[in-house]
């Protein structure tokens, strides 16, 4: 325990979480900017349609669909991939918190963070 605390200083968790959040937002932002540029280059002169609500096509609703279409370099799917990265950033932060509390030997909060992580994964991945 004493040895573990030598590199696990107080405040280190905060540093790690801060870095993770910043990196996630920056990466998502860069992907969205690049994909947005591609989208405008291809569709910039089309007419927009947002008044009527259709809902997005199935491909842009699921992890598999988005990744598949993005791999085919479809601009809207690439934007959606960036947005997915952004949504994943807080999820990754919660996952990191599980590790942090585990390193601190804090079982109660490992359970608390696992519960939050479970809820987030359910909302992202469950069907329906």
């Amino acid at each position: 325990m004493a040895q573990r605390e030598r590199w696990w200083r107080p405040g280190r968790a905060e540093q790690a979480i801060g870095t993770l959040l910043r990196t996630g937002v920056l990466a998502a932002g860069l992907v969205v900017v690049a994909a947005g540029g591609l989208y405008l280059a291809r569709h910039g002169s089309d007419r927009p349609e947002l008044r009527a609500f259709h809902g997005e096509p199935q491909d842009l609703r699921s992890l598999g669909g988005i990744v598949g279409d993005a791999a085919a370099l479809r601009a809207r799917a690439l934007i959606q991939l960036g947005l997915l990265l952004l949504i994943a950033t807080p999820v990754a932060r919660v996952a990191l918190s599980v590790v942090v509390f585990a390193l601190e030997g804090d079982r109660v909060y490992v359970a608390v963070t696992l519960a939050v992580l479970g809820l987030l994964l359910y909302s992202l991945l469950a069907s329906g």
Partner: protein, 278 residues
């Protein structure tokens, strides 16, 4: 109008919303949904989807700085995130069944509350409080840096705070906002945290809350990439600039002006919804 022109207009409006949202502490999401529905005629479900994404971006960006400064109460934030994520998933599911007109009316009410809450004077710091056994057992008490050195504080009325956070989560999932006003109400008024700890811990939680509802919105097809792209980038850049300016600016009058704008938006949204125009 072409997609290019629309994208540039959306970018400009989102930039302004993010800038003012950061300066006043209300957050960009509060203005972006009325701006998109009233100003651009966007369907409210698409508007909420785009707003949720921008809320995740701004709160994560801001939290990365606050967390390092040592104001955020990580334990309390994580514990209360159980309530906000549960509420957010519930609210996002509700959004599919509630008529969009009713959502617009609820949005108006929450806007009015947020404007009122943000224009009140900040409560005085340094209210002494007794240690609370439940909060102590969960090791929630914390400390934060002040100009006079590190100050400790106690957390009280955890069950009340927890249920208020559930409500904040439902509103976030239903309306696509961060619900910062309700979160600060829970932390500051109910649980007795110092104001700076309340606002930073609230901000810390908003990303996770919004991510929980964003997942549901994405799967329902309410997140349109063409709309969310300029909104997310605009609000993010705007709030980054706003936070820069905030460091030196006297914001009292700006806060009031912005509160009036929000009140006007709220009323217009409710009138339009009741008249069946949304």
């Amino acid at each position: 109008m072409t997609i290019l022109v629309l994208t540039l207009l959306l970018l400009a409006v989102s930039l302004a919303a993010g800038f003012l949202g950061a300066l006043t502490g209300l957050g960009g999401g509060v203005v972006i949904v009325p701006a998109l529905t009233l100003g651009f005629g966007v369907d409210i479900r698409y508007a909420i989807g785009a707003s949720l994404v921008s809320v995740i971006a701004t709160s994560s960006g801001a939290a990365s700085a606050y967390v390092r400064e040592g104001y955020t109460n990580l334990r309390l934030g994580m514990l209360l995130e159980i309530a906000t994520t549960l509420g957010a998933i519930g609210g996002a599911f509700l959004a599919a069944f509630i008529p969009t007109r009713a959502i617009a009316v609820v949005f108006g009410v929450v806007l009015l509350y947020s404007a009122w809450a943000s224009s009140r004077p900040r409560p005085k710091e340094g209210r002494p409080s007794e240690p609370d056994p439940l909060a102590q057992r969960l090791r929630l008490d914390g400390s934060f840096p002040t100009p006079e050195g590190v100050r400790a504080y106690h957390v009280k009325r955890l069950p009340l705070g927890f249920s208020l956070m559930g409500t904040a989560g439902v509103l976030s999932g239903l309306l696509g906002i961060g619900s910062g006003a309700v979160k600060v109400l829970a932390l500051d008024q109910a649980m007795g945290l110092p104001f700076k700890v309340s606002t930073t811990t609230s901000n810390f939680m908003i990303g996770v809350t919004a991510a929980a509802s964003a997942g549901v919105y994405l799967r329902r097809g309410y997140i349109d990439p063409g709309l969310a792209m300029p909104v997310m980038l605009g609000v993010l850049a705007g709030s980054f600039l706003g936070a820069r300016v905030l460091a030196g600016a006297a914001t009292t009058w700006l806060r009031r002006v912005f509160a009036l704008v929000v009140v006007a938006l709220a009323l217009e949204m409710m009138v339009n919804a009741l008249a069946g125009r949304l």
